[in-house]
């Protein structure tokens, strides 16, 4: 069995007195596409943010690609990671946010080339060549010179995906990337993600309320509730034959609200 790309081991995380993650463990294998579903507030976003090092953990361990994420080994001892170690580990991980978080003062091209040029010292010409390939892939080659404010939500999100890909991460994290979009614009983003899933062997973690897409896209689905994984399995198992009562009632409500699975 190959090393898991991500190995989360009994991590916990609280905000003040509120325990968001409670001894959570999970593993993600190389190239796996994972969907994280569950009710609001169950900790789905939090685990992605922890993997992206946007939040600290209170306890437990995380390995990415066989290396400790929040700890460094020095002379056989595990020390808390310093900023240099974190920066090194972050190279393996990219993230796309619900609200895109494009840099509003930079054009599309600069949004995509900024990080490779600054963090990897890629020359401008090379960075722009790669950026054009990526923009082409997300169908926005003609918007390279546009400012983010001139784009629709769906276009912004596709730029955000290109920007994350520009650093060639091994792992991509997607947090409800379509939930801020008009329904008509959702499809164009999902199409890009389908293409990505089909064409690359990146490991992908996806938080979503689009059960239909989660079903088609994921190799495995994790159902979260109150900071724990209540149930996991193949999409068909989870969506058609959920075992846990909590999962059943959640899916029932979602269906009643008019969503297709």
């Amino acid at each position: 069995m190959p090393t898991p790309t991500i190995k989360v081991d009994a991590i916990s995380k609280s905000f003040g007195a509120f325990k968001v993650l409670d001894g959570l463990s999970m593993q993600v294998m190389p190239g796996e596409k994972l969907a994280l579903i569950g009710p609001s507030g169950s900790g789905k976003t939090t685990i992605l943010r922890i993997l992206m090092t946007l939040e600290k953990i209170d306890g437990g361990h995380i390995e990415v690609d066989g290396e400790q994420l929040y700890h460094m080994e020095r002379n056989g001892q595990l020390l808390p990671a310093n900023e240099r170690h974190l920066a090194k580990m972050r190279q393996k991980i990219g993230m796309v946010f619900q609200l895109f978080n494009l840099f509003p003062h930079k054009c599309v091209m600069d949004n995509v080339t900024l990080a490779p040029m600054l963090t990897k010292g890629v020359a401008r010409a090379a960075a722009e060549k790669r950026a054009m390939e990526l923009l082409d892939m997300v169908g926005l080659a003609d918007k390279a010179k546009a400012m983010p404010a001139q784009l629709s939500g769906g276009q912004k999100q596709r730029v955000a995906i290109a920007r994350a890909l520009a650093l060639s991460p091994k792992i991509m994290l997607f947090d409800e990337v379509t939930s801020a979009l008009d329904p008509e614009l959702v499809e164009e983003v999902l199409n890009v993600m389908r293409k990505l899933a089909a064409e690359t062997d990146m490991t992908m973690l996806l938080v979503t309320h689009e059960m239909g897409f989660a079903h088609d896209f994921a190799d495995r689905v994790l159902f979260f509730d109150r900071g724990r994984i209540v149930e996991e399995g193949k999409p068909d198992e989870i969506f058609r034959h959920p075992k846990q009562e909590r999962t059943q009632s959640f899916l029932k409500k979602i269906i009643a609200a008019g969503h297709r699975i």
Binding site: R49, M52, H105, P148
Partner: protein
């Protein structure tokens, strides 16, 4: 007491002399305030509690006491510990320090107003701390600050008459001096008011333009 246009004509050159000093003091004071403000704002973000709290209280103290008294202090008390400043320099330092505590708030708000998502996106792009500041945060934080900074510039301009307390011959002091020489008060003081009004109205227009130009970043 009637308005006397001949008198107005006669005192105009002297008053203009005062206007020059007033503007000089304002410009120098503003530059200092912009720098001091940034210093205070950064010091207050410092992770060293001693620095952030110390600077914080110092700024609060400056902000809570009148500039007039501070000017007296700088000009008349500091020489006792060997710091002897020329009047204009003392005035500029007083203005710069006092208004620096205000601009510090502007810097702070400007930086805080950059959405958290931008910090996070910068991290997700693996940018270093320095790159995050120079390429992402400051370029977004500074343009919206410009109107607020300009506002303090105008406020400072209107407080320059205080410098007469430390013998700077700015506009108000010139006017008083003229008035005391000829025992006519209405003309010089009204002219000072008119100068202030004209310059403020012009700067209000400038401000509107700045707000329009830099006020918000489209997201």
């Amino acid at each position: 007491m009637d308005w006397d246009w001949d008198f107005v004509r006669q005192i105009m050159p002297v008053l203009l002399q005062g206007v020059k000093i007033t503007i000089l003091a304002t410009v120098l004071g503003s530059i200092l305030a912009a720098i001091v403000g940034l210093g205070i704002a950064l010091a207050r973000r410092s992770s060293n509690r001693l620095v952030s709290l110390g600077v914080g209280w110092f700024a609060e103290f400056i902000r809570g006491t009148p500039l007039l008294v501070q000017l007296y202090f700088i000009f008349y008390v500091l020489p006792d510990i060997g710091i002897l400043l020329p009047p204009l320099v003392a005035g500029v330092i007083g203005l710069g320090l006092h208004y620096g505590t205000y601009t510090a708030e502007v810097y702070r708000a400007g930086i805080d107003n950059v959405p958290r998502g931008q910090w996070e996106a910068a991290k997700a792009c693996n940018l270093s701390g320095r790159h995050t500041w120079t390429h992402i945060i400051l370029p977004q934080a500074i343009p919206p600050m410009i109107p607020a900074l300009a506002n303090y510039f105008i406020a400072m301009f209107k407080e320059t008459p205080l410098l007469s307390a430390i013998t700077v011959l700015e506009l108000m002091n010139q006017a008083k001096s003229v008035a005391n020489t000829y025992y006519r008060y209405i003309e010089p003081i009204t002219l000072v008011g008119a100068f202030f009004l004209v310059i403020s109205l012009c700067s209000v227009m400038l401000l509107r333009w700045l707000e329009h130009r830099y006020g918000r970043i489209e997201r």
